[in-house]
């Protein structure tokens, strides 16, 4: 049975490297996935993940128990990503089709193919949203953070989170209803 992240963090603050390793093993996949979707490249995602955890170790003293460890680490990862985006200013800010490299899953080939196609269109539409809406969709739907946790990560009000999500869903719904040729922003 996995030890709660809060206890692992407390032990890590006390200097327990094993606990720190356990905390990494428990959280690094979500952090990597988050940064991989945002950055769009494997190598950038690996670098950002390493920077995120390096900052986690140096910021152990600033952790307060009001937020969960997951939220705290996501907040650090988000700020690391924002700093990276500002400093490196990647020429192609749009992510690649990360969803195409992921393994498929579904009940039947036909249904799976249709659903996979619709999902790919939807994920492409998400990547075409404005940055604030896109990051919020990533956090809430992809990373499965609650609205409160999203607000803490982005340091904005919960009401603002709700408004942006509502706007993003409306935008996705309207784009999904348009002809297919206009649906893939990465090919625009």
């Amino acid at each position: 049975m996995n030890e709660p992240a809060e206890q692992l963090l407390a032990r890590a603050r006390a200097g327990d490297s094993a606990a720190a390793a356990g905390l990494v093993a428990q959280t690094y996949e979500r952090v990597y996935a988050f940064l991989r979707r945002l950055s769009g490249h494997d190598s950038d995602a690996q670098d950002l993940t390493q920077k995120t955890f390096a900052k986690v170790w140096t910021s152990l003293g600033s952790y307060r128990s009001q937020a969960s460890v997951s939220t705290w680490i996501h907040s650090i990862a988000y700020h690391v990503y924002v700093d990276w985006r500002r400093q490196s200013k990647p020429a192609d800010a749009k992510a690649d089709g990360w969803w195409e490299n992921c393994p498929a899953a579904g009940p039947s080939p036909f249904e799976d193919a249709a659903r996979r196609d619709a999902a790919a269109r939807l994920y492409a539409l998400v990547e075409g949203l404005p940055a604030d809406a896109r990051e919020l969709v990533h956090l809430h739907y992809y990373q499965e953070l609650t609205l409160q946790e999203c607000a803490e990560v982005l340091d904005i009000a919960v009401s603002t989170v709700k408004y942006r999500l509502r706007s993003a869903l409306d935008r996705l719904q309207s784009l999904a209803a348009e002809p297919r040729s206009h649906l893939i922003p990465s090919k625009l």
């Binding site: 720190a20 995602a45 690996q46 490299n101 393994p103 659903r115 619709a118 869903l169 719904q173």
Partner: protein, 301 residues
């Protein structure tokens, strides 16, 4: 595609898989800071005693403050009630005081009237005494009036006999004073002339205007009996409007060492200022007998 389908698809989004080498790398890079007492253990940091009791203390302080305010207000209220009772008692005593005040005012007015009457009585007494004094002086006035009439009659008789009357005495005294002042003027003129001669090789000035620096004021060049002139400034002197005559202009003492030569003359009083500085008063007859002209100079003999 409706909204719930969109949300369902988004929640079922595939998760990118990290490369297998990432986890060992991350674990190898773990660099924990040295634990310090400044960072207490994470979890449930025990709040301080003050933080835990802050609500109760705040409520207690508020309650105590309210109680104190109520107590102070009750004290003030009691004080006001006591003052109110005292004022009501004083109000009952106010009517007799008012009556006393009215009577006092009346008495005060009567006293002022009595004082005024006393002052009038004293004035009447003083006037009566003055009348009596005047009545006592009345015989003396009658006597003086009679004596005055006698003197007037005597004076009138003296005037008819050719003797001096009372007004001639004043005129004589005035003339004598003017003559004395004229002598004084001539003495100052003579002194100024001698000073000028000392400064100018024993030669007397040619005119009065030359010795203005030696005279204190031009007024001395007007005889007091000479009412036809008004010598108040040196401009009048320059125009020759003076009372006295300069009879030895430019006299050189080395050439004519006669001290009786007349330097200045007042034709009204026959006063002579000699070159030695002395002033002589002569009557009209004496002037004709004793003043002669020798070698063009008027000399007193």
């Amino acid at each position: 595609m409706n909204e719930s389908e969109i949300e369902q698809l988004l929640r079922q989004a595939p998760r990118p898989t990290p490369p297998p080498s990432l986890l060992p790398g991350l674990q190898a890079e773990i660099n924990l800071p040295r634990p310090s007492a400044a960072h207490p253990a994470v979890g449930n940091p025990r709040p301080s005693w003050f933080s835990r009791w802050m609500p109760a203390l705040a409520f207690g302080a508020l309650f105590l403050g309210g109680f104190i305010v109520l107590g102070m207000q009750a004290g003030v209220l009691a004080e006001l009630r006591r003052e109110n009772a005292e004022l009501r008692a004083a109000l009952a005593e106010l009517e007799p005081l008012r009556a006393t005040n009215v009577s006092y005012q009346q008495l005060s007015a009567e006293v002022r009237e009595i004082d005024r009457l006393r002052a009038d009585s004293a004035e009447v007494t003083r006037l009566r005494a003055e009348v009596q004094s005047l009545q006592a002086q009345l015989p003396e006035i009658t006597r003086l009036r009679t004596e005055n009439q006698k003197l007037q009659a005597a004076n009138q008789a003296r005037a008819q006999a050719g003797g001096p009357v009372g007004e001639d005495f004043l005129a004589q005294a005035r003339e004598k004073a003017e003559m004395v002042r004229c002598v004084n003027n001539l003495k100052q003129i003579g002194l100024a002339g001698r000073i000028w001669a000392n400064d100018n090789n024993d030669t007397y000035p040619p005119d009065f205007l030359s010795m203005t620096n030696e005279m204190s004021t031009p007024v001395i060049l007007q005889c007091p009996a000479d009412h036809s002139r008004n010598v108040t400034n040196w401009a009048a002197v320059a125009s020759g409007n003076v009372s006295y005559q300069l009879l030895a202009p430019g006299l050189r003492m080395k050439d004519e060492p006669n001290p009786s030569i007349v330097f200045a003359l007042c034709p009204l009083h026959h006063n002579l200022c000699l070159v030695d500085g002395s002033v002589q008063h002569l009557s009209a007859e004496g002037f004709a007998n004793h003043v002669k002209t020798v070698n063009g100079r008027m000399v007193m003999q």
